[in-house]
Amino acid sequence: MEEKLTQRSVWEKISNKLSKRSLWMLHYCTGCGAIELPPTMTARFDMERFGISPMVTPRQADILLITGYLSVKTLKRVVLTYEQMQAPKYVVGFGSCTINGGMYWNSYSTMKCLDQYLPVETYIAGCMPRPEAIIASFNDLIAKIDRGEANSWKDYYKNYDFYKANQDRTFEGPIETYNDIKADAAMFNIK
């Protein structure tokens, strides 16, 4: 931890300070947790106070909020979506079902551990987490960005083989994604 802090340059510190104030969340209801997002976004809880607002396309978004269980069919779309997002990008796992299957632990159709497929930045436990929990976890994420520790997105570039192997195993065959992750990592000099 200490090592990381000293490695940050002054510019990086400033940029983390400012970037944390603007987080755009991809407007993708992947599971039943999506029902608690409208209250979080609208008048009652209003998460735009923290600079978090819903965004409609993956290109513009910073946060991929996985609102609950992912069926294998959705997981494929989520992986494609994640790869279209532009780094730095953060995956937030929402609800118990993203952590270890939750109440769908014996379902044949939903994946159990989100972090086998995508690098997860934060988890929100509960079924289903309340809007206050969503806001609290976003505040944790903001604090993490401020400290310069929210770097899990780099994992996807570094350990791409691991993630790719897990994805292929679940989809029972290699999937064609439109991004060449390794070439991207080399091009943008991500280490």
Binding site: G101, W105, N106, Y108, K112, C113
Partner: protein, 178 residues
């Protein structure tokens, strides 16, 4: 008289299907068991003659020990306000076949497609028997009784190890109860 309405419905239908077994389950619920080859005729009469305009659902039950699938058609009449459940049995095979009623009722399309995916019963004559929900599924039809979802899930998916001390007694108690 109790079940006046239901009895009048049965009186209407019984003459045309003498071998079908009608029973009144409770108010507004009439059950009829018939052989599978009569069903299409019955469905045509239901819609055209007896004015059962709403097909509420088609359910399928897998009777593994009898080696049969049971199909249950739930018809609802908007005017007389009665639900008739027509039950038939078809043999259980690798890919069972049955005739479609989707040319009579549009909603049947969805239910038949669903039964095809979940049980592997093919409905001949339907326009569209493509996969709908399980397009990325590679296993057997999952709702068949011989498919055990727990085994499949435990083998196929990755689980996070979580085995704290305090949970052990509860897990043991639960397993003893199984």
């Amino acid at each position: 008289m109790e079940y006046e309405l239901e009895n009048s419905i049965i009186d209407k239908m019984q003459p045309e299907f003498p071998e079908a077994a009608f029973t009144i389950k409770k108010a507004r619920r009439v059950e009829v068991k018939m052989s599978s080859d009569k069903l299409y005729n019955f469905a045509v009469r239901m819609q055209k003659k007896w004015n059962f305009l709403h097909l509420s659902a088609i359910s399928c039950v897998d009777w593994l020990q009898d080696n049969e699938f049971e199909l249950i058609y739930h018809f609802w009449n908007y005017d007389e306000k009665v639900l008739v459940m027509a039950k038939i049995r078809i043999p259980r095979e690798e890919e069972s076949h049955f005739e479609t009623i989707s040319n009579l009722w549009q909603p049947a399309k969805f239910f038949e497609r669903d039964i095809h995916e979940m049980f592997g019963v093919y409905f001949d004559g339907s326009e569209d028997m493509e996969r709908f929900i399980l397009t990325e599924w590679h296993g057997p039809p999952p709702m068949r009784k011989d498919f055990i979802t727990r085994e499949y899930a435990l083998n196929f998916f990755h689980y996070r190890e979580y085995d704290p001390e305090w949970l052990k007694d509860m897990t043991a108690a639960g397993e003893a109860n199984e």
